[in-house]
Symmetry: C2
Subunit: 330 residues, 2 copies
C-alpha cells in the first residue's frame, strides 16, 4: 500500500476532499481561507494551520520565534485575501519533557504575533504530543465584495509581488548545511527565517483599492503560488522581471548556485503574489505605497496556460514545484 | 526546571493565559467556546480542540471512529453552549507511514461526524507529524441572549444532566486492562468509547427554553464539570441522585470496585451538565423530551461553595479531579 510519504501533501488533500460532503461555498475549497455567509455584505473568514516541530522548525529557532511564526503563517493568508484578522485560537501539542519556561516563551511568541497584527488570542486547547504541534485557527469578518480570491486573473492583467524572493530559502540552507557567508548577509537571511512578516497592511490596502483580480500568499514558494493562480483562474503567466533579492543574487554568485532556483522554488516566504487589472495599476501601486510597502511588477497574465520566465535572453518553463510537506523532507 | 508532565494541563493553561493580552470578551476565557461580537444580536462562536493519537486514541479504535470522535468532541462544546455548528476546519498531522486507506478512513470519519450534526468541513491543513494529530476548529453563529455560559448558576437552581455516567470509563478500563465482562455489556461500554454522541439537540432546545442558568459538557468527567461551574459561578452543589448508568452499577458490583468513582471521575463523556432555574424545570424538561432526550435531576445549587454527594446515607466530598492531560497518562 502507498504511504503518505510517497503520496505527498497535494494528493493527501485530494483524498480528503473526495471523502467530504461539500456545501455551496462562498470561497472555493483550496483557496487560502474559507468563508461562511454572515449577511448580504459580510462573510466570516476562517483558517486553520498546523506547525509541527520536527518538520517546520529549523535548528536554533527560539520558541518565542516559533510561537510568533505559527501566528504569522495564518495572518499571511488573511493578508492575501484582504481580511483583517480578529480572533485567534491555538491548540498546542506539547512534548512531556517541555519546561515551564518553554511554555512561557511559546505563549509570549504567540501573543506577540497576534498583537503585531491587531488580533487577539481568545481560546485554545492543550495536550501532550510526541512532538511540538501548534495549530492556529484564525477568524475575521470580510466584506464579501472585497475578498481577493485566486480565481479572477484575466489575460492582460499585471503580475505583481510585494517583495523580493529567495532570502528564506538561503536562510534555511545556511541553517541546514552550515554554509559560511559574511555576517551581515547571514543576519539578513536568518532574520527572514526566524522573523517572517505578513503583508497585512498591503493586503488590506489592495483589497480596498478594488484593483486586484487574484491573490495568494507565497508560503509554498513563488513558482507554486503562480501555478495555484494559474490552476484556479485558467490562465498563463509570462514573468519577465523575476524578483530576486539582491543578497540572494550575491549569494548565488559566490556559491555558484542558480539564483532562479532559489527565488522560484523556495517556500515559507510570506509575500503576496497578485494579478492587477492594468487600468488600476497606478491606483494599486499608490495604495501599497501609502501603507509603506511596494508593489513590484514581475510580468503579465496571458491566455495560453503556459508558465514561462524570461531570464537573460532565454525562455524558461516555471515548474509546479516548491515546498511540499511529506515529500520535501527538510 | 519543572516539566509540563509535572505541571499538568490546568497549570499550563494558566501559564499561557498570563502571557496573553486579553481583549474584552463576550464569553469569559476558559469557557467551552469563545465568542466574537457580530452585531447587536449575534456572536461568532469559535472553538479549537486537539486529539493526539498517543494519548487520546484507545487500542482497537478504528480511524473512522477516531475522525468522527475528533469532530464530536468539538460539537459537544457547542451543544453545551446552545449553538448550532456550521463550519469545521481540520488540521491533520499524519505519521509518514500512514497508508492511503488510513487517510480515506480518517477523512470519512471526520465528514460523518460533521454531517451527523449538520455541519460541513470547509477547509483544513495537513502536514507530517510523529504522531497522529487532529485539530478541529468549529464555527457557528449564536444568539447572544441565548448562550449558556458556566457562570450563571444561582443557589436554588436544579442541577441536571442529559444522561447516565460511567460507561466510557468502564469501556476504557476494558480496553486497557483486558477485563472480562458479558458480551452485551462489553458492547455497550465499548460503544460509548468508540461512538460518543454530542447532545446537540438537547443543548439547542435547552438554550431556546431560556431555563438554563449554567451549562458545560462533561468531557473532563462529571466531578470536574461540576467544579468548573462552581468556580465560574461561585456556588456549591449538593448532589443527591448520582446518575450512574445501570450497567456501571452492575459492573462495579461484579468487580468489587467503587461505582461512585467510575461515575464521578471519568472523562471523555459527552453529556451536558446544567443548572436550571427552578420555576422553569418543567419547561426545560419538556423541551428536552420534545427532541427525544431526557433531563435527569441530580441535585441542587447551594450558597455554600462546597461540593457534596449524598450517597447511601453518607455525605461525601466531590473532589476537583478527573481526566487531565499530561498527568493522567492513559
Amino acid at each position: 500500500m502507498t504511504t503518505v510519504k510517497k503520496l505527498g501533501e497535494r494528493k493527501i488533500i485530494g483524498l480528503i476532499l473526495e471523502a467530504l460532503t461539500l456545501p455551496p461555498m462562498l470561497i472555493p475549497f483550496g483557496d487560502d481561507v474559507s468563508g461562511v455567509e454572515i449577511d448580504d455584505n459580510r462573510a466570516a473568514i476562517l483558517k486553520i494551520d498546523m506547525l509541527v516541530g520536527k518538520t517546520d522548525v529549523p535548528p536554533t529557532m527560539s520558541l518565542w520565534q516559533v510561537g510568533r511564526k505559527a501566528v504569522v503563517m495564518n495572518i499571511s493568508d488573511f493578508a492575501a485575501k484582504g481580511v483583517k484578522p480578529i480572533a485567534l485560537l491555538v491548540a498546542l501539542g506539547v512534548p512531556a519533557d517541555f519546561l515551564k519556561r518553554d511554555i512561557e516563551q511559546l505563549a509570549k511568541g504567540l501573543n506577540a504575533g497576534a498583537r503585531e497584527y491587531g488580533a487577539n488570542i481568545v481560546g485554545g486547547d492543550t495536550g501532550e504530543a510526541s512532538d511540538l504541534v501548534i495549530s492556529c485557527s484564525l477568524f475575521g469578518l470580510g466584506k464579501r465584495n472585497l475578498l481577493m480570491l485566486r480565481n479572477g486573473a484575466r489575460p492582460g492583467d499585471i503580475v505583481a509581488v510585494t517583495g523580493f524572493f529567495g532570502k528564506t530559502t538561503v536562510g534555511l540552507k545556511l541553517l541546514l548545511e552550515n554554509l559560511v557567508v559574511p555576517s551581515a548577509a547571514r543576519k539578513s537571511f536568518l532574520n527572514s527565517v526566524f522573523r517572517p512578516n505578513a503583508r497585512l497592511n498591503e493586503g488590506l490596502a489592495l483589497s480596498r483599492s478594488g484593483a486586484v483580480s487574484a491573490s495568494i500568499d507565497s508560503s509554498d514558494g513563488l513558482a507554486w503560488s503562480l501555478h495555484e493562480i494559474n490552476r484556479a483562474s485558467g490562465v498563463g503567466f509570462e514573468i519577465d522581471n523575476l524578483p530576486i533579492a539582491p543578497e540572494v543574487l550575491e549569494f548565488a554568485k559566490r556559491k555558484r548556485t542558480d539564483p532562479v532556483e532559489l527565488a522560484l522554488y523556495g517556500g515559507e516566504e510570506y509575500e503576496l503574489v497578485l494579478t492587477i487589472k492594468q487600468r488600476f495599476w497606478n491606483k494599486a501601486s499608490q495604495a501599497v505605497r501609502d501603507v509603506g510597502g511596494s508593489l513590484i511588477r514581475i510580468g503579465r497574465v496571458v491566455r495560453k496556460t503556459d508558465m514561462v520566465l524570461q531570464w537573460k535572453g532565454k525562455t524558461i518553463s516555471i515548474e509546479p514545484r516548491g515546498w511540499e510537506h511529506f515529500k520535501s523532507g527538510k
